[in-house]
């Protein structure tokens, strides 16, 4: 009995030390980062980069993972509001469902930053995005180029493998992509979703479609980790690199590796490091509720534009197409070489 009691006391003590110790850290305050999930590399790296860059400018980052559950993220927002942090950085699981939580936080005087996922239906204190619809635009431009190189014109068959159909992120990319491809009626698009962003579901779609439509020219997958399974499925069907053109988006390390191996033609990257750095650059102004001026800012070497929109100051950072010619450039987050220079706050 005594032993159990001792163990219990020790456990509580260890837990208490773990919980309390960060409070002694010297900082300008805590910023809570609401990450939608930790099941993909983009999100994992977003935690590291925000922690690093916001740390550079004096803030301590606490991350809460919503596991892709809207209700959980709502609860996390409610709990965090009670803790009165310096600010909340939100990458919303659901673009609409989190609106009341954002309004509640701002009403309590806590600045809210939209990160990666843009919410336009309510004002926020700052938004840092690559623009998911714009990723679709960039992808469409690359598809047009690749089809023209292969078929002499923008014509052919494209298999578009979406992520989970309940995720607005993938729907936005699809919207942007199809909007730009509409003007090319000879390019046929077959769109199918990989449920829950699960890689083997993408593999299944690719292996079915490559049998049913052997004339597919290009496969566009909405995340790099899906392209790994797609490549494995193509390999199992006896395909070699270059037999079918492949493209994916988000710029994860797996995508860059597949470019190096010759399987992937293009990876449309989300400028994760710049998105995180932008939040850090403006953090003091956001926390102190100072005016953020519209204009062009240099964020880690990328010319980014701040505009004052109906939903607040919005910085848009250009995405980039990664090909075998530029794949090794350290600016791409997929190379996992986060900039070591300290981020300087905007004066």
């Amino acid at each position: 009995m005594n032993r159990i009691r001792r163990l219990l006391t020790a456990s509580i003590a260890i837990a208490a030390v773990g919980l309390v110790s960060p409070a002694f850290a010297q900082s300008k305050g805590k910023i809570y980062y609401m990450v939608p999930t930790l099941l993909d590399e983009f999100q994992t790296e977003s935690v590291s980069s925000l922690t690093k860059f916001l740390g550079d400018v004096g803030y301590e980052v606490v991350t809460l993972n919503a596991d892709n559950k809207t209700d959980l993220q709502q609860s996390q927002m409610n709990d965090t509001i009670l803790l009165k942090p310096a600010a909340i950085v939100l990458a919303a699981v659901d673009f609409n469902a989190l609106v009341p939580s954002i309004e509640k936080a701002r009403a309590a005087g806590i600045p809210v930053v939209q990160f990666d996922r843009q919410i336009k239906s309510t004002p926020s204190d700052f938004t840092s995005v690559a623009g998911t619809i714009e990723i679709g635009y960039v992808a469409a431009g690359e598809v047009q180029r690749l089809l023209k190189e292969k078929n002499g014109a923008v014509k052919g068959k494209i298999l578009q493998v979406l992520g989970d159909p309940a995720d607005p992120y993938t729907l936005d990319i699809q919207q942007g992509f199809e909007e730009k491809m509409k003007e090319f009626p000879d390019a046929q698009i077959i769109s199918l979703p990989a449920m829950m962003w699960e890689a083997s579901n993408a593999g299944t779609i690719v292996s079915d479609q490559i049998v049913a439509n052997p004339d597919i020219d290009l496969i566009f997958l909405h995340a790099a980790h899906l392209s790994v399974a797609a490549v494995a499925a193509l390999e199992a069907k006896g395909k070699k690199p270059g037999d079918v053109m492949l493209m994916s988006s988000n710029g994860a390390p797996v995508g860059l590796d597949l470019i190096r191996k010759g399987w992937l033609n293009v990876e449309v990257e989300q400028p994760l490091y710049a998105q995180s750095a932008a939040v850090a650059m403006f953090a003091d102004k956001i926390v102190n509720k100072q005016e953020i001026k519209a204009g062009t800012y240099n964020v880690l070497g990328l010319e980014s534009t701040v505009t004052i929109e109906a939903w607040g100051p919005n910085i848009k950072i250009p995405g980039a197409a990664i090909t075998k010619d530029n794949v090794d450039e350290p600016r791409f987050w997929g190379n996992l070489k986060a900039p070591t220079d300290k981020i300087m706050p905007v004066e």
Partner: protein, 332 residues
């Protein structure tokens, strides 16, 4: 009055109803779904049934034994991730190599099976020794094991599985990849074990009435322990195959497969009350779900329909099970 011959025919049809459903569905799809009727698509259906199919074997054994194992999906994911970390050369993979090179194949398999068996052992310990409810224990495992996958991977992925392991996913016999043959072999072996060995017959007896089985001298606890360990080890095998198929592992690999495995088990005629069920029926259930999934892919229907149809199929299977009981009573 029914003749013995009529009764035998009726019994045969009732016992193999899911196979008739599968045949019906395949014929309908072959006629109405463009590009469905071809060897490549049938090979795909068999291949895609591999992971859920293998997972469903272990799940079915535990359910026939009168319990439940919700942890099989996460166990498979953990086995896949550890296989990926050890034997992939990119991402978080450390690219372990051995001499001769082919040794990584049996070693990776043994590791995956051992991981699964260890989780099964833990589940068994809590359920049998500590008399906790299997539903809660395995639900907890479902959560903590997936958490462990995320923790050890840091949310990152492992890619580029060693070629000597990948060969299983690429090499084909009769147009069907070796991984699918492994699943078929598993069904054959475990069907034999469940019907032709004392272990299998005792598992069914325990699931039907554990008190009666205990009074008949069957070592119920030992048998249940083995069932949980088997379910875990088989889930480990499913994870190993999954890593081979996707040439690595991501933190969300296999998400949602538990529900498909459950659906296949129920459609395949395994009673959730325990004591009833045959593994060939479960395989037919998996093939049926895979056929529907493939047809939906080819028709270009939104994937939500797959879930709607799967849900309806499970309901229909339970309904048919009830009807089967009534029909049997009429023939009795």
């Amino acid at each position: 009055m029914t003749s013995p011959r009529q009764r035998a025919i009726a019994e045969f049809v009732l016992d193999h109803l899911v196979w008739f459903m599968l045949a019906f569905v395949l014929i309908v799809f072959s006629i109405f779904v463009p590009n469905f009727f071809q060897v490549g698509i049938f090979a795909n259906i068999v291949e895609q049934s591999t992971f859920v199919g293998v997972m469903a074997i272990g799940l079915a054994i535990v359910i026939i034994a009168g319990h439940m194992d919700l942890s099989v999906e996460s166990t498979a994911a953990l086995a896949a991730m550890i296989t990926g970390i050890l034997f992939c050369s990119r991402g978080i993979g450390i690219g372990l190599t051995l001499t001769p090179e082919w040794l990584v194949l049996p070693l990776s398999l043994i590791i995956a099976l051992a991981i699964g068996a260890a989780i099964g052992l833990l589940n068994g310990f809590f359920v049998i020794r500590l008399k906790m409810t299997a539903f809660i224990v395995t639900l907890a495992s479902f959560i903590w094991v997936r958490g462990l996958v995320v923790a050890i991977s840091g949310g990152r992925s492992a890619q580029d599985l060693a070629p000597s392991i990948r060969v299983i996913g690429i090499y084909q016999i009769l147009n069907v990849p070796l991984i699918a043959w492994i699943a078929i072999a598993c069904f054959a072996v475990f069907s034999f074990i469940m019907t032709r060995t004392p272990f299998g017959r005792h598992v069914t007896l325990v699931g039907g009435n554990s008190v009666a089985a205990f009074r008949a001298g069957i070592k119920v606890d030992r048998l249940l322990f083995i069932s949980f360990i088997l379910a875990g080890a088989i889930a480990g095998l499913a994870g190993w195959l999954l890593a081979i198929r996707t040439s690595g592992a991501t933190a969300n690999l296999g998400v949602g497969m538990l529900f498909h495995a459950f659906a296949a088990v129920v459609i395949g005629g395994v009673s959730l009350k325990g004591g009833v069920g045959r593994l060939p029926g479960v395989y037919a259930g998996v093939l049926l779900l895979s056929s529907i999934n493939t047809a939906i892919n080819l028709m270009g229907l939104p994937a939500h329909y797959t879930q709607v149809i799967q849900g309806m199929l499970v309901l229909a299977a339970v309904l048919l099970d009830t009807l089967k009981l009534q029909i049997r009573q009429r023939f009795a």
